[in-house]
Amino acid sequence: MNQSLHAAADPIIVIHDLVKQFGRFAALRGVSAEFVAGRLYAIVGENGAGKTTLLRSLAGLTQPTRGSISMLGTTDLRSVCRQLGYMAHPSLLYDEMGGMENLRYFARLYEIRDDERCARTISAVGLDPTLIRPVGQYSQGMRQRMSLARALIHDPKVLLLDEPFSNVDARSARQMTHLLTQLRDAGKTIFVVTHQASQLEHAADEFVHMEAGVIVRRTREWMTAEAP
């Protein structure tokens, strides 16, 4: 593991006093944090803690009400969107198209026209690129993997994954975890939001605990967040 190597490294993402308000409700209320490259961060917390909102802010899908995010040295997230892979709870795929077809379309959005590369990415997540079934007929586990392939197609430096294991059976979850570890070892920075933190017990470098819109603590090991 390369934790010690990176501990002194410059942070790849700096969040400063991030506030996100939805009408009357503040989903994030002053999140400040730094994250260094090449690690796997598990973001955990109760329902409504603001995990998804934080991830969407990082992805540039939500404009923060206040505060700033700087990624790879810039605060203009739009300009670094090529370095960012985002996987949400919904699959972000067209149900009516096959896996390869989907990926080819999304590759186009990144100006990639290389079918070989699409096929390789699909194989990398453990699916068969020649499968012609529409994604809508995939099982939940296959769909999640396909969704991961979509997030990986442009080989981004930072990966944002929102509950990749939810509603996935234990075996698929383990395979996915293994894949994530490999990606981390290959130098990617990975954020995983999950309710099943135990899944990542051995894989994650750090657990980021969120509560009511703030990061309350960051730990190396996962422990059940019992009441004090």
């Binding site: 308000q21 009357r24 409700f25 009511a212 009441a227």
Partner: protein, 230 residues
């Protein structure tokens, strides 16, 4: 400063409004062909002018919002649209009330009538959008729609110009000759309406601003409460 001025302005507006009412009902001369009905004019036309002015402000505020994302511009756009729709409604109600005895029909597809109706429709749809859109995106969506509406107005005007040429011409105002006393009363009423509209917009603006501030602090407080749990 302005808060102190409010009651004074209020009294002034009330005085102006009552003076306008007196002049409209008693002061102004009786129109020869239409008789007493014509007195509706002193409410009809100034309301229209006020509404137009408010819609113009709405457009400007919307553009400012699109450029600067300023909350104040958004609130200004909202209140001018609301008050403008009210005045526009007054025009649309007084118009047919007047038309019925004078022209014998409630409505005709005359350019002025029709374009007023379309304008009203556009701004009602604007308010509908504001009401229905999910909170975070309302200002942006509304501003975009306001720009579309403003772009539409000249086109509406031109299109209706050529539309259905058989409509009866308005009885007065076509030639442009108007009794100076009548014009004077109309202008007094307009001044009163403008003051009134300005005051309503102002208080509505303050109210909306306060409401948003309250919402913001409420949100933070609610979270501070629940955040203290662990």
């Amino acid at each position: 400063m302005l808060r102190r001025a409010f009651p004074i302005l209020g009294v002034l507006t009330a005085a102006l409004l009552s003076y306008g009412l007196y002049e409209a009902l008693i002061g102004a001369p009786i129109e020869q062909s239409m008789g007493e009905v014509q007195r509706i004019f002193y409410y009809h036309a100034p309301s229209a002018w006020t509404a137009f002015l408010l819609f113009t402000v709405n457009f400007v505020a919307s553009v400012v919002y699109l450029i600067r994302r300023s909350i104040k511009a958004d609130i200004l756009a909202l209140v001018t649209a609301e008050v403008g729709v009210v005045f526009c409604t007054v025009v649309l109600v007084t118009g047919p009330l007047w038309a019925r005895p004078v022209w014998g029909i409630w409505w005709t597809w005359d350019i002025r009538l029709t374009s007023t109706l379309v304008l009203w429709l556009i701004y009602v749809s604007y308010l509908m959008l504001r009401r229905f859109s999910s909170s975070g995106q309302t200002p942006l969506m509304a501003a975009v729609l306001a720009v579309f509406g403003a772009l539409d107005v000249p086109l509406v005007y031109f299109s209706i110009w050529f539309f259905r040429t058989q409509h009866p011409q308005p009885v007065i105002g076509g030639g442009g000759s108007i009794d100076p006393k009548m014009l004077q009363v109309a202008l007094i009423n307009w001044a009163a309406f403008l003051c009134f509209a300005g005051l309503v917009c102002w208080s509505r603006y303050r109210l909306e601003l306060l409401q948003r501030e309250v919402e913001e602090t409420e949100a933070l407080e609610a979270l501070l409460d629940s955040g203290g749990a662990p």
